[in-house]
């Protein structure tokens, strides 16, 4: 059975879309990432036009994040105070990032340079995280130490507040700053940024891995709602039929992802996330250096 998508203008098999949504939702629930980096290429590969795939994935992730965060919420593993601060920084950072991106584009900065920086960034994060989590697994398999040299710089900062869910007493400047930086980077690189934010929360702020997953999903809810609204209002490229079918699989996958996450050690979750980040970097290396790039492209001027 096929269904016709009103905005994408293609006929698709809903069962395949449900399966795609389920896989991406599972990763979302397990790691606290949105999953757009995986969903968008999968949809494009299946024949959905790129503009519709990019816009609609945000709508699907909104639903899966709500479903995923509910499981973490009940277990009191969502730090809303910390999440709100990072969200504020993220919104400001992404607004500035969009401006910087337009400026770089106007100056003719080649896409390849951005992709190369992206690969270096992901490779370093993924590599360090994999190394740390393997070391942690050899010991107890818990979270990284609280008083590391990496976080020593934060202790002298003013405006300290308590974050009881995360068990932290830190300045509000680092969470806002990290949110701002990740938001800006995400806007420049054109991604959601969950897989950058998640390790930043664990290693730079010292948020426990399980609280990180719930808090990251909490932020993603607001960010994806904002992106969905903008894409639907300004571009009309959100396909509600496609989103609805993806959501069905996504919410189921997100719940099972959250359940699977509870059965793993914190270091195991971090190691799997590191492997995912390295896999994304690998895909980018392939796209940049191996895959043939089309010489021509076509746009309809409707």
């Amino acid at each position: 059975m096929l269904i016709h998508l009103p905005i994408a203008q293609v006929a698709v098999d809903p069962l395949i879309l449900v399966a795609i949504g389920m896989v991406v939702g599972f990763l979302s629930g397990l790691f606290g990432v949105g999953g757009g980096f995986l969903l968008t290429p999968l949809l494009i590969f299946y024949g959905i036009p790129a503009a519709v795939a990019v816009s609609t994935q945000a709508n699907q992730i909104l639903a899966t994040s709500i479903a995923g965060v509910s499981a973490h919420w009940r277990e009191r593993q969502v730090d809303t105070r910390l999440g709100t601060l990072m969200l504020m920084g993220g919104l400001a950072g992404s607004t500035l990032g969009v401006g910087i991106f337009s400026l770089l584009k106007a100056f003719g900065v080649v896409d390849g340079t951005i992709a190369f920086l992206y690969i270096v960034f992901l490779g370093v994060i993924g590599g360090l995280m994999a190394w740390e989590s393997v070391n942690a697994l050899r010991k107890a398999g818990g979270d990284p130490g609280r008083r590391t040299r990496l976080r020593a710089w934060m202790r002298g900062l003013p405006m300290k507040r308590r974050f009881p869910r995360s068990g932290l007493y830190i300045s509000i400047i680092p969470p806002i700053g990290i949110g701002f930086f990740v938001g800006m980077l995400a806007a420049i690189l054109g991604v959601g940024g969950g897989f950058i934010l998640a390790p930043a929360m664990v290693y730079l702020l010292g948020v426990p891995t399980r609280v990180m997953v719930g808090t990251s999903l909490f932020q993603i809810i607001f960010l994806t709602a904002y992106v969905t609204f903008l894409q639907a209002t300004l571009n009309g490229t959100v396909d509600l039929v496609l989103a609805a079918v993806l959501m069905v699989g996504g919410v189921v996958g997100a719940r099972y992802g959250a359940i699977a996450g509870r059965r793993l050690k914190a270091a195991q979750v971090r190691l799997l996330l590191a492997l995912l980040v390295l896999a994304i970097a690998g895909r980018l290396v392939y796209e940049l250096f191996v895959a043939p790039r089309p010489e021509y492209r076509l746009e309809e001027m409707l």
């Binding site: 016709h4 203008q9 709500i66 919410v251 010489e295």
Partner: protein
Amino acid sequence: MKRIAIAVLAACICSVSTASAQRVEGTERPILAAGIAEEVINVEVNYSDSRVIVFAAIPQPENATSGIAVALVGPVVPHRMIRRSPLGEERIEFVAAPQVFAVGAEPVVTASVSPDTMIQAGLNAQASALPRLDQLLSPELGAWREAFVGLKMDEGLYTFGEATFRRFEGGLRRATIGLPLNAPPGEYTVRAVAFRDGRVVGESRQRLTLARTGLEATLFDLARQHGLIYGFVAVLLGIAVGGIAAWLGRK
């Protein structure tokens, strides 16, 4: 019921095939007696694909080189093409080019008609892409057009030789041509062109509407005409589905 309608259509075409002295508007080609089985195809959420059936009566007398070609063309919209090169990006604008171009011809036509005649008959996909006036004399127009057709073929919107034909007594032909799955709704032209001895001897043009109906039409119109409401609906859908899933998870 559909079969009866097609039979009646075929009978009507046979009866008027002898009176074809009129000319196709804007050309010197005589009108070909032809008709299509359905003038409107509805696109709903359960739409998968469709076929257009064309009946045409070959002008008499017929010989061994007589045959027809059919084309489904439309909706015509402007397109922009971008080419990546070491020096940057180059662009060309086709002010009018069909989004869909599906053409098929009987084997006898393919074997006997020259490419120039096919272009003059409007059955060449590359020639259907009209550039801006200032780009009309570009030495690279041929390469741009070739790439344009290639990209459209990759999308499945331009197809060649995928029509099937059946011959009946009295010079009547039935052609069946597929409408691509991703064909956008809008106004199409279904053309049937008759050839004899490698030359065009008749042509017909029929209008075909691919129309959205039901939920398909509601969502499309909402997205295009009421973006703000559509944006709210999209966000509410995400919240509702996520909320229901969370509630079911608690149960």
